[in-house]
Amino acid sequence: MKIQIHTIAIAAIFGIFTSPSQWWLCSFLILHLFFTRHRLSVFAHILMVSTYLFFLVYTPFYISQQGTQLTPNTSMITGKIISTPVIDGKHMTFHFKLPHKETLMVNYQIQTEIEQKQLRKLYYGDRCSLSGTLERPPVNRNFYGFDYRTYLERSSNIHWIYKTNNLSSRECTRGNGLLVSLYRFRQNGIILINEEFPKELSGMMNTLIFGDRSGIDESLQEQYQSLGLIHLLAVSGLHIGTILGLFYFLMIRIGIVKETALWVLLLIIPFIIVLTGGAASVIRAGLMAVVVCLVALFRIKITTFSQLCMIFLGLLLYKPTFAYNIGFQLSFLITASLILSSKVILREISLFRQLLYGSFIAQLASLPIVIWNFYEFSFWSLPVNMIFIPFMTVFLLPCVLTTFCMFLFFPFPVWGILSDLLSVCFKILHAFMQWVETLPIGVITLGRPNVILMFGLSLSFYLFLIAWEKGGKRLISPCLCILLVLGIQLYYPKMNDKAFVTFLDVGQGDSIVIELPYRRAVYVIDTGGAITFKKEEWMERRRKFDTGEDIVAEFLKARGIRKVDALILSHGDFDHIGGVDGLLKKVKVERIVYGKSDHLEASEVEFLKGLDAPIVFLNENISWRVGSSSFQTLNPGQAKESRNNRSLVLFVKIHGNSFLFTGDIDQRVEARIISHYPGLKVDNLKIAHHGSESSTSSSFLNEINPQTAFISVGENNRYNHPSTTVIERLEERRTDIYRTDRQGGIMVIITPEGKRISTVLPKDDINTK
């Protein structure tokens, strides 16, 4: 029997992902070998096992080969820029290659608007000497968070961020060579389009021609993302295919022989890969095109699927860390699925059905990866894709390319008409997207499934596709399988008796998420908030970081939380309420709870008025129960107090474990609480005011006697929180201390039997001192 190359590709991918912490992945290989023991020859099995073992050893070897040779105190460096520099407000970044082949990420803070303009003249290939300091890229600090350090290492072998303080285009010398010219052409093209075309068109044009998405509004990109259309903004196989198809057609039309035309295509493919930005999907599509041309030229008999597998293996051999790239995963998975389903798709005669089935299969294939990474999917994604894919590839993309070519080669006003027409098209398209977003039952948030459910989901999709391919009417059982897995994912929290209290790391600020047993209710206390200073227009970043949107809402989505029963805002300081708008934008909030007082400041009233949710005001000594969990407010009282001291203080008891959430109260309010509520005992104390010296008095600690203390505080914050005196007070009483600046996110898992604390960054006892 012949060797089936896809079995080797499967072995390779498992080899890469198997690591000491994920050793169980090898069971998939064993299962595969077991199920195919009668089908495949011994030789094929040996080949699979050796491929697996090869990648198992090769991946860590490859990573260690790419290690750093720099020491942290390196200050002067010389090298060349090897990426198109990105300028985003005050921030400029690019990849920088040193003579010993190591790559750095260079960061520079632009000082003035004029400087910003001058720095646009830095290009790929420029050689510079820089001075500055090395920093390790930040690690992930929150549950389900994004680990920038690992990302940089895996995607670009970058181990250091170099913060430079002297950067100017005049001190750099221009590089030379074909590649440099291509990159310069691309960068200039992007600038030219931005300058010459209307704003609503230039962003899309740069995306479609040069694979540069930076010109598209962040919120528009999010819309593309949530409707499952983001692949249209990535240069993909469809895209490369359309461009090459146009070229080929033109050449044949003007009378070039097929063979010559194919050779010409082979020559221009590398150029297209560079010009369109060289993302993983572009490389895949480009290489596919190369193989297709070669197969046609030399009349090699090989299936498309084998071609894809060979490219896959080749790329993994070149760089095994490609396997971690989401674009790479999606690109190969979707292409493979479409090829494997070609029987099903081509069985249909009507073009509409072919399109329907094709889009459906692409959706299905990408769903596991989409849910894992983005925790949700949109039901409208399929119909919208069916409209957008043909419209984009058959109409808009050729039009955009023609407009750009006309712009380059013909004088005004021919391209002007087309560009106006295209602007209108995109406006209509985006208005349509906005309308779809408002439709009901759009997005369904599933949360990140665990590995078993992921496997179950993929398996039921596979069973579904097999049943479909057979053409039988036995689609019901695989459909039930899919619904069962999705149902378990949706309703598992409702059956789980564990409660989760999570202290999110929002930097300097508070944000706590309480999930009650059986998820009877989800409460969020505060949202954090990064303080931003007023900026001039040129300083504005494309994407503003927002703790509510980027940390709290992301965490809630990853947990599969679709609705927050109450957002409790302890008080009106920015580091507690700064992220409210961002959170409200992303997650449904039933009500907002705020401390009741007759002395609210004007700014507080204004802030509360602007919120798009019903507000409930609570003062002290109000209790309620949800299931077996009880809640009681202990502050604010009647007296006129400062904003901090009007903080809503909440006493919570879940499965016999008590928590006290204190906001930013000081010693005075602490004293009032212990006198008003004598006999108050607290197991888990949220230290008030980020560990400020004026709070957490000895007498308070003596009275409530906490076992564990949680300090929500920013790393290296300007207030020097938490104060050493507070830490000493806690240590004297042998209280276990958890700090978000040291441990990142902290999750308390409460079961009827007891509690367990899990942290994002490891906690060792030396660390807390």
């Binding site: 195919t36 494997l340 029987k343």
Partner: protein, 232 residues
């Protein structure tokens, strides 16, 4: 891959079932597979011929007029099922297989025959139609044994063909229907009370399997059916 029949190089489009080896790889190229006509849809309950390729006027409910005729005379075979329609392509194909000794060809039908057998003859034991000694020597193999061998279940060599005579394919319909003493029973073969599936390459009039079936029934077989690659 090389097509087993026309020897041209071909590639197969791969599907989901092939991914983990659930499907058998085809041994014939796309073109050759396109020439094959599988018997599907409505068939004659007894002789297994497809009604779709058969004039409607010869049909009587779920039987064909041939079978009605057979039944009047008394019949030993309870049913026949065939995989393919015997068309000119298959005629050439079988000729290459049988007369030109390309024994490997029959493997192209392995999975099809297995599926059909499992559907129709699940608990039967296989008895291949024998060849006379002379014919076996001349051909080098017995095609029925090769076909039965594809099914990976034990077969019973219960029959012998003592007479060497003209090939069935060289005789007329009446000639065929006339002869009844083609086969002899091999003494000692355990057929008593068993359900037997006779295996042959082609079913045309049914005379061969009918003759064989009668002998097996006479020796105590409970039920005899017939299983062939092609239906003439």
């Amino acid at each position: 891959m090389k097509c087993l029949y026309c020897k041209s190089i071909f590639v197969t489009s791969i599907g989901w079932r092939d991914l983990f080896g659930l499907d058998h790889e085809p041994l014939l190229c796309e073109d050759c597979r396109g020439e094959l006509v599988f018997i599907e849809g409505e068939i004659c309950r007894q002789c297994g011929r497809a009604f779709s390729l058969f004039p409607e006027k010869y049909r009587q409910n779920d039987l064909c007029s041939d079978c009605v005729e057979w039944n009047q005379k008394g019949r030993s075979i309870s049913k026949n099922r065939s995989l393919l329609q015997y068309n000119s392509f298959l005629q050439e194909f079988m000729a290459q297989f049988k007369y030109r000794g390309d024994a490997e060809l029959i493997k192209a039908f392995k999975s099809g025959l297995q599926t059909l057998f499992n559907k129709e003859f699940r608990d039967s034991i296989l008895v291949p139609i024998p060849l006379s000694k002379e014919r076996h020597f001349e051909r080098g193999f017995n095609q029925s044994v090769l076909i039965a061998g594809l099914l990976d279940i034990p077969m019973l060599d219960a029959l012998a063909r003592p007479l060497h005579e003209e090939k069935q394919s060289k005789k007329s319909r009446l000639d065929r229907l006339g002869n009844r003493t083609l086969f002899s029973f091999k003494t000692g073969s355990e057929v008593h009370g068993k359900s037997i599936a006779l295996v042959d390459d082609i079913y045309t009039t049914g005379a061969t399997v009918e003759a064989a079936g009668k002998i097996l029934l006479d020796h105590g077989a409970r039920k005899v059916s017939s299983f062939t690659v092609a239906r003439g």
